[in-house]
């Protein structure tokens, strides 16, 4: 097809139409230029063979619309062109009407007769075009005028018109629901579900799904029979239609496990679609239906079938890969057997965009287990020498997390980290120190031998988180580090200029040092100096209060202080870092959507939207019912939620600005609480912070999968979304968490 040459209209629209002296004017639509357009249109009426002249003028006008110039003053003149029997011209006038129709309610009546006439044109293309155009103009006059034509179009003999009309009903519903109810359009739309043409069925399904979210007078819930009929239509409708129909299957609540199984068998073949969105939507429906199945073999078969298509998605463009990866991260938490043996598919390609690489790395970490851990570690080590800083740091951090997750690999990970530290690259070094601190806590008494190596690099640390981690190590192991007092003394030199995070760490470390070496004169001086600073010169209330507390403690009962400050800390592990099962079930109802990319339920980032949850039925399997999350009562629908911040900030749970240690909320005793408070000063700083609260919530859910906790009921009264907290609270799920509360539900998570 030959390329068009319409670009000239953009320049001509500016230069020819207006007198030359106005060329530089910022507002080209001066009356004069409109006058010229008008004149040109009128002139064009004479001797206009095949309407070429008028077409040219209209193109200029459309070009101006495209450039963002307001062409609405030409309304009357343009509408006049509707009388020209040219489809080309008609389309441009319609485009004009869609752009400006609503802004000229008093003039629309000039256009209506032609539009209505076109609704009865013998060409189905024109009929559909007319009805579609009218539905895009939300004016009462237009709506009223299209009622009868629309009714006819819904029953038109041409399927193209019917499928267009179905969408028109949904469109009108967005601005005038009442008239649709009054004129009884919903039954007509429902009739289209039985249309012989699958494309019409698909659009009717899409329209009805949307209407059912909007009004109670349309309910769209499928029973097995209706669902089966729709599934039959799947085979012949367009790929997009398949998505609408598959989506609608989520309204089918299986009453028996057989129902669910039958349906999965019928749709599983859609995994072979070339359209990635169809594949993901199919997976969504399969995952949903699996909640209502109890035949473990059948579930396993489905899990096996889902794997290869998911891997294939990783061969698509980076954007699709990204969507797939974010979803895979959820899917493999809920169904660990999916992709269990495919970790290699996630190895980064050198030219992958960084956001893809980061998402891949998260999946690799998640899929790592004894059998493949070496290969995964080798990859992480490779990534740690990448050019991109963000990626490189995450790689280092992942090595540490791997050490915490897989005990048999811890030695190798430490080795790798020491190699990286030896490279003396500042960023690598700082990340390494941060993760090593966690490794110490995971394997107490095992790797402290490397402390001297760490201490050698003290001067290179300039980032608060890394510095705080190093200070913690020095304080915690002050009894093993001979020159701990000297090191701390050096660090304290800049105490007053440090960030609060480091100051808190220094305070606690000094106290620990004093307790470890209470006989040492330097230690005594040190702690005295720090306590004096914090209580007298520091304005930050958290730091000051903690200073006072330590001071009293040390003054009143040094022995008790030792017990408090050096109490045994719960070991950490990443075993429980999976998202809550119930929250996962809920989030997976949104597979493929924005929600699944942000890892947040839609009601948390969209106003006035009702959340989704699994519906209880006799078929719902026991494990899913146990963690079932019920939706808040509908009266809370209008509660406003904060618009979410940019997702990329939230999307990566390990971003350095987040609280470093989650242990704070779970530690059982007050004393431990104190200790961990020292570790994660952020908690003290922002204890009204949204995320903090959520974290509390999810961690209290830990032991009992979130059903019988008394706090729960209370929260529910206060906040209708309390139940949902798990979904984003455990958003920090990649952070290590205490060993307690490990749930042995692996067997439930096929």
């Amino acid at each position: 097809m030959s390329a068009g040459q319409d670009a000239k209209f953009f320049t001509r629209g500016k230069i020819q139409v207006r007198p030359a002296k106005r060329v530089l004017s910022l507002h080209p639509q001066t009356p004069a230029s409109f006058q010229e357009f008008r004149q040109e249109l009128q002139d064009a009426e004479l001797k206009d063979k095949k309407f070429v002249k008028r077409k040219t003028v209209l193109k200029k006008i459309v070009a101006n619309i495209t450039m963002g110039n307001d062409m609405s003053p030409l309304y009357a003149d343009v509408v006049q062109c509707l009388s020209v029997p040219s489809l080309d011209i008609k389309k441009m006038v319609y485009l004009f009407l869609v752009s400006y129709g609503r802004s000229k309610p008093e003039q629309i009546r000039y256009a209506l007769p032609s539009l209505q006439q076109d609704c009865n044109d013998r060409d189905p293309l024109v009929r559909a075009l007319a009805i579609r155009t009218m539905s895009y103009i939300p004016l009462p006059a237009v709506t009223k005028a299209m009622i009868d034509p629309l009714r006819h179009c819904l029953q038109d003999k041409d399927p193209y018109v019917r499928k267009t009309a179905a969408m028109c009903v949904a469109k009108i519903a967005s601005y005038d629901l009442k008239i649709l109810e009054k004129e009884e359009f919903f039954p007509l739309l429902k009739d289209l579900l039985l249309d012989p043409n699958p494309v019409v069925v698909a659009n009717a399904v899409a329209a009805l799904t949307e209407l059912s979210e909007k009004t109670k007078s349309v309910s769209f819930g499928l029973d097995l029979q209706a669902a089966s009929k729709l599934v039959v239509a799947l085979a012949d409708c367009s790929e997009w239609g398949q998505i609408y129909i598959l989506d609608s299957l989520l309204t089918f609540v299986p009453q028996s496990t057989q129902d669910a199984e039958i349906l999965t068998e019928r749709i599983v073949v859609r995994l072979q679609s070339a359209n990635s969105a169809v594949v993901l939507t199919t997976i969504k429906v399969l995952l949903y239906l699996m909640n209502y199945m109890d035949d473990r073999r059948a579930i396993e078969v489905l899990c096996r079938k889902m794997g290869p298509p998911l891997v294939t998605l990783l061969s698509s463009g980076p954007e699709v890969q990204y969507v797939a990866l974010r979803n895979i991260l959820l899917i493999i938490q809920r169904r660990p057997t999916v992709l269990r043996n495919d970790v290699k598919a996630f190895f980064c390609k050198y030219n992958d965009p960084i956001y893809v690489k980061i998402a891949k790395m998260e999946c690799m970490y998640r899929l790592a287990r004894d059998e493949n851990a070496h290969a995964v570690l080798a990859e992480f080590v490779e990534y740690a020498s990448e050019v991109d800083l963000d990626f490189m740091r995450r790689a280092v951090r992942s090595i540490g997390r791997l050490a915490i997750k897989i005990e048999s690999l811890a030695d190798k990970c430490i080795e790798a980290l020491l190699d990286l530290i030896a490279s003396k690259v500042s960023y690598v070094l700082q990340e390494a120190i941060i993760v090593i601190k966690d490794i110490f806590r995971r394997y107490p008494g095992k790797y402290e031998g490397i402390i001297p190596t760490l201490c050698e690099n003290l001067d290179a640390l300039d980032e608060p988180e890394a510095k705080a981690a190093m200070v913690w190590i020095i304080g915690q192991y002050a009894n093993r580090i001979e020159n701990a007092d000297e090191l701390l003394d050096d660090l304290l030199y800049t105490f007053l200029e440090e960030s609060i995070e480091v100051q808190l760490a220094l305070l606690t470390a000094s106290v620990k040092l004093f307790i470890h070496k209470s006989t040492s004169e330097t230690a005594k001086n040190l702690v005295h100096k720090v306590l004096k600073w914090t209580t007298e010169e520091i304005d930050n209330p958290d730091l000051r209060d903690r200073g006072f507390m330590y001071w009293r403690l040390l003054a009143i009962n040094p022995a008790a202080a030792a017990e408090v400050v050096l109490c045994e800390k719960p070991a950490i592990s990443t075993d429980t870092d999976r998202m809550e099962r119930g929250a996962l079930d809920q989030l997976l109802l949104h597979t493929g959507s924005l929600s699944s990319i942000y890892h947040k339920n839609p009601e948390t980032f969209i106003r006035n939207v009702r959340g989704k949850a699994l519906t209880d039925s006799p078929a719902l399997n026991e494990a899913s019912r146990k963690v079932l999350i019920s939706l808040p009562p509908e009266t809370h629908l209008t509660i406003e939620t904060e618009p979410p911040p940019l997702p990329s900030r939230n999307a990566h749970p390990q971003s350095p600005s987040l609280p470093p240690l989650p242990s704070a909320t779970i530690t059982p005793t007050a004393t431990a609480g104190l200790e961990s408070a020292a570790l994660s000063p952020d908690r003290l700083l922002n204890n009204n912070d949204e995320e903090d609260e959520q974290e509390d919530e999810s961690s209290s859910d830990e032991g009992d999968a979130g059903s019988t906790n008394p706090n729960h009921g209370k929260n529910q009264m206060r906040d209708p979304y309390a139940d949902l907290d798990g979904a984003f609270g455990s958003y920090l799920n990649d952070e290590p968490k205490p060993l307690e509360g490990r749930r042995l539900d692996d067997d439930l998570l096929l």
Binding site: G4, K163, N203, P318, A345, K349, Y350, G592, S648
Partner: protein, 436 residues
């Protein structure tokens, strides 16, 4: 679903836009690029979907334009992104190129396409073959004889009735792309074969086609024994014309093809592949003065095959200068823009191996900021008449009610994928290359 779809230039200015829903004002498009820049500035990754002030932006990039969709709802992001890619595909098929100029040159028709391809934010018809039947450049023909878009809602929505060719022919291209990653110890860490069966179909009427491959699962399901090797495909994707239910029940690939060119199917195998072209390099660097490379290439496939247009990219550091090359075959060039030198070999016979040497000067003062990055060696190549998986077309049956004879032609080719890389450029001493 999308509320607004737009194409922006690299400065973030909308070149063309279409609003489908009133819940998002098109004026939000102006925020797109500033948001992207802000994210970049803060050191965050610009992901394909992000949200700001309640509006979700989904975008892809093509040449010198962004394609952006905005939504306020919890949109099916996979659907929107695939749609944007499809939009690119359609516009490219209409105008050959999609870039600022071609958009300006064809804005009226793009409006028409946007109106037809999406309705109320729901993707509709995105097959350019079908769209071209009723949205054309010289649309005045339509006023003479308005054609109904029958095919849009036809039972066979991808093919029109009444197509006629004097000579009925079908061309099949089986193309396999190999992706692989070799670690520094020479082990293949990851390998996959991405296969694609492309078709050029010049057939009259409504032909029924059946394609037979040496598909292992097919033989298993029918209980027949294959002559020769059968191939186990891990995942198969089909064009929507293929009857999936037939494939599911007995692995038969039966379909009524669209007219002209299309991708019938794609498949993936992750069976381990021996690197068809092996490359390793010994690097000897003398910090502050020079660096030397010895590169060895080996064609590890049968003698009767030949790899064409082999290009081997060996990374060198950015500050290298005064290149000197000596190769036993082919030609070598320095490609500073890619931080590599390229060894080009027009034809590389199976089983052959060659050596080349490269010598670069290095500046005496080393940039302290330079971290030790080690990009892999990458290779480009194509091997005609050969599929690495061993897949073969056993038959292509064509049945049309008029009973014409049609000729199928089949071509095979194996080539590099988008990631054929070897981390085998090693500092000398760590793993010596045995000279030939």
């Amino acid at each position: 679903m999308a509320s607004v779809v737009a194409i922006l230039d690299l400065k973030g200015k909308p070149l063309i836009q279409r609003s489908y829903r009133d819940d998002v004002s098109p004026s939000n498009l102006e925020r797109f690029l500033p948001l992207v820049l802000e994210l970049e500035e803060e050191g965050n990754q610009v992901t394909p979907c992000f949200s700001s002030q309640g509006i979700n932006f989904m975008h892809i990039r093509h040449n010198n334009v962004y394609l952006v969709a905005m939504s306020k709802r919890n949109t099916n992001a996979a659907e929107v992104i695939v749609f944007l890619h499809r939009l690119v595909q359609v516009l490219v098929e209409y105008f050959k190129e999609l870039e600022e100029e071609s958009i300006r040159d064809n804005f009226v028709i793009i409006y028409e396409l946007l109106d037809e391809m999406m309705d109320f934010g729901y993707p509709q018809t995105t097959e350019s073959k079908i769209l071209q039947e009723y949205i054309t450049q010289d649309a005045y023909k339509l006023t003479v004889a308005p054609t109904a878009p029958i095919t849009v809602t036809n039972a066979v929505s991808w093919r029109s009735e009444g197509i006629r060719y004097r000579k009925n022919e079908v061309f099949l291209d089986v193309i396999e792309s190999v992706n692989l990653l070799v670690n520094s110890n020479g082990a293949v860490v990851r390998s996959e074969i991405l296969g694609s069966v492309k078709m050029k179909c010049y057939l009259s009427g409504m032909p029924e086609l059946r394609l037979g491959l040496n598909d292992k699962a097919m033989f298993e399901s029918t209980g027949r024994t294959p002559h020769g090797k059968a191939v186990e495909m891990e995942d198969v994707k089909f064009h929507q014309c293929v009857r999936l239910s037939r494939f599911e029940s007995d692995r038969t690939i039966s379909f009524i093809p669209p007219d002209g060119e299309f991708e019938l199917m794609s498949y993936r195998l992750s069976t381990p592949v021996k690197p068809l072209i092996w490359v390793e390099a010994a690097v000897e660097s003398h910090k502050g003065s020079r660096v030397e490379y010895m590169v060895k290439v080996k064609a590890q496939f049968k003698r009767r095959s030949t790899a064409n247009n082999v290009e081997i990219y060996v990374p060198v550091s950015d500050d290298a200068d005064t290149p000197k090359f000596r190769a036993s075959t082919g030609s070598v060039q320095y490609a500073p823009d890619k931080s590599a030198f390229v060894w080009k070999i027009k034809q590389l016979g199976g089983g052959r191996e060659f050596l080349m040497r490269a010598h670069f000067g290095l500046p005496s003062v080393k940039n302290a900021e330079d971290s030790e990055r080690r990009p892999p060696i990458t290779v480009k190549f194509e091997i005609p008449y050969f599929t690495v998986s061993g897949i073969q077309v056993r038959y292509l049956k064509i049945v049309e009610k008029s009973g014409y004879q049609a000729l199928p032609w089949v071509r095979y080719i194996t080539q590099h994928g988008d990631d054929y890389s070897l981390r085998t450029a090693l500092e000398k001493g760590s793993a010596p290359i045995v000279p030939m």
